[in-house]
């Protein structure tokens, strides 16, 4: 039996439809993401994976349908409001703050967990200075966790791609999320970096954070996911444990137009 079905739901998407003009990017997508699990969303290019992410994180509002997080309706909320509910993300094309240091990037991730009054900051009130020190320490802890402790003072744009991707995950972790959405964390990475990334995602799960993952690297997905959801042309064509999805006739057809097991 699927063990994730016994866990409480963290995120529920119901009847999601997203159309751009006449083009349907998502058609009646339903799924439940169980607390504390890793779910991977796969599918050919243009299947609607990034659109799904954008809807969950509030970048786009769906044409129809709802997303509930911890039972609360979050569709229609702004990205920063959804972030405050406990959903954080990374981007397919790494979107770091290149005008800041590595440490500052992570500190910015703590933004909504701290007080940020314009006046208090300008007057440099003691409470603000203490908070700044605490933020720095918290950010250093996160850098330690993701293995970039030595790079704190470097500018974010000076890091190689592998470390940029890791830093983006660290920045997302700094928001204290319940759910972290990772958009192709292994894209463009070599094998060693990919393995380190997969290890990090496992460690994030062990912290009790739920992970939703878009990825093309099948080795990563098969190894770390509890569940896989397959999208094709905006429709969900399969969902289940990795072994189950692997041999699903529809999935194999979508990928290969053939009828053997995938991967």
């Amino acid at each position: 039996m699927d063990r994730s079905s016994t866990l409480p739901a963290l995120l529920e998407a119901s009847d999601l439809v997203m159309t751009f003009g006449g083009l349907a990017a998502l058609m009646d997508v339903n799924f439940v993401l169980a607390k504390g699990t890793i779910k991977a969303v796969i599918g050919p290019n243009g299947a609607g994976k990034t659109t799904l992410f954008n809807i969950i994180t509030g970048v786009q509002a769906p044409t129809e349908g709802q997303v509930r997080f911890n039972g609360d309706l979050i569709t229609g909320l702004k990205p920063h409001e959804i972030a405050a509910k406990g959903i954080s993300r990374t981007f397919q094309t790494v979107e770091l703050f290149d005008n800041m240091s590595v440490l500052e990037n992570v500190m910015l991730g703590r933004h909504m967990r701290c007080r940020s009054s314009f006046l208090g900051a300008g007057l440099s009130l003691p409470a603000m200075r203490r908070q700044e020190k605490r933020l720095r320490e918290q950010a250093e802890e996160i850098l330690e966790f993701i293995g970039l402790a030595e790079k704190g003072r470097a500018m974010a744009d000076s890091l190689p791609l592998g470390e940029r991707k890791i830093l983006e995950i660290g920045r997302a972790l700094a928001t204290d999320p319940e759910l972290i959405c990772l958009d192709e964390p292994a894209a463009g990475l070599n094998e060693t970096e990919t393995e380190a990334g997969a290890g990090l995602i496992q460690a994030i799960k062990e912290k009790g954070i739920t992970v939703l993952l878009v990825e093309h690297d099948m080795k990563v997905i098969m190894n770390i996911s509890d569940e896989i959801m397959v999208l094709n042309y905006g429709e969900k064509i399969a969902e289940g444990a990795p072994a189950q999805v692997q041999c699903d006739a529809k999935v194999v057809e979508a990928y290969l137009g053939d009828s053997e097991c995938l991967f």
């Binding site: 979107e95 800041m100 910015l108 909504m112 314009f118 900051a121 933020l135 920045r171």
Partner: protein, 317 residues
């Protein structure tokens, strides 16, 4: 650049402190305190503009209008109603803040350069109002008889006294802004500059921060306008036109808008150029400003304030 280094501040304070004394002994420096009053007034505007443009990445082409709002509110309320000048200054700043919300809110909720266009139009409209509402503003002839300022009964009636008032205000604005930059709010502004989508995903209320920094810069410009009106005792619309908005952009580009120091350096440099050194070009002055802007963009990507670091880098190689 982000480290709060105290020594340049103290050096700056010393120079500012002793300039009037030096000017009284060295005839060649005689006009410098007067020029530095204007420079300080420009600094107040460029400090806010630098936070808005250099840090948050939002372009305003209409800050002369906020400068004008402060000047005209102070001018009209003191000459017509005899109100306390300090009260007028606060009123002007409050009005500038309201206007900034009205102009900024619609355009700052959108991504892209809408603020630049909105402020360009706003600046032109406000200047037309200054010229045409003759009954209130005195029209193209301007307002005369604006009283000077006094502090706790102590009249700030000499250049030197006004000089210290202006530069004390600049120091306060500078320190406030430096503190702000090294706080969660300052990081949020830089994050918005680097990527609005990522900033939003990290929980930064992007629209609110953009409006807030725009309001802050408008308030500083308005206070500068009030100080200008009380120093000149006379204002006319020409001082608040589109060209002055452009001149402010030239100031922060020349000085370097990546740091607040750049705002100060650029404002002082342009004040001396425009009030002392560029007179010999007469009607070609505009061309010189164009050349300065061009040269600064091409050769000084971090402005004059970034020059020492750039030179050190070159020496090391």
């Amino acid at each position: 650049m982000l480290v709060f280094k105290k020594s340049p501040i103290f050096a700056g304070i010393l120079v500012i402190l002793f300039l009037p004394l030096a000017a009284s002994f060295v005839p060649a420096l005689g006009s410098y305190p007067d020029i530095m009053v204007f420079a300080g007034i420009y600094c107040l505007i460029t400090i806010g503009l630098c936070l808005l443009m250099g840090y948050a990445g939002q372009i305003s082409l209409g800050h002369a209008a906020f400068f004008g709002v402060g000047a005209y509110v102070s001018g009209i309320l003191t000459t017509r109603y005899g109100l306390n000048p300090w009260l007028c200054m606060v009123t002007g700043a409050a009005l500038a803040a309201l206007v900034a919300v009205a102009v900024g809110a619609p355009s700052l909720r959108l991504k892209g350069y809408y603020l630049a266009m909105a402020t360009l139009a706003f600046g032109i409209i406000v200047n037309i109002v200054f010229r045409e509402e003759i009954e209130w503003t005195g029209g193209p002839d301007g307002l005369i008889g604006i009283p000077g300022l006094s502090l706790f009964g102590f009249p700030l009636d000499s250049i030197t006294r006004y000089y210290y008032l202006v530069w004390a205000t600049v120091l306060l604005a500078f320190l406030f802004t430096i503190n702000l930059i090294q706080s969660p709010s300052g990081r949020a502004l830089r994050a918005i500059h680097a990527g609005e989508e990522a900033a939003g995903a990290m929980g930064v209320n992007v629209a609110n921060y953009k409006i807030l920094v725009f309001v802050y810069s408008a308030v500083l410009a308005s206070i500068a306008g009030s100080l200008y009106a009380h120093y000149m005792n006379f204002i006319n619309p020409a001082a608040f036109d589109l060209f002055f908005s452009i001149k402010l952009i030239i100031m922060i580009t020349l000085g370097g808008m990546q740091t607040v120091w750049g705002a100060l350096v650029g404002a002082v440099a342009i004040a001396f150029l425009s009030l002392e050194w560029l007179h010999l070009f007469q009607e070609y002055e505009m061309v010189v400003y164009g050349a300065i802007l061009l040269l600064a963009v091409v050769f000084l990507p971090n402005g004059l304030a970034g020059l020492p670091a750039a030179l050190m880098e070159k020496m090391r190689r």
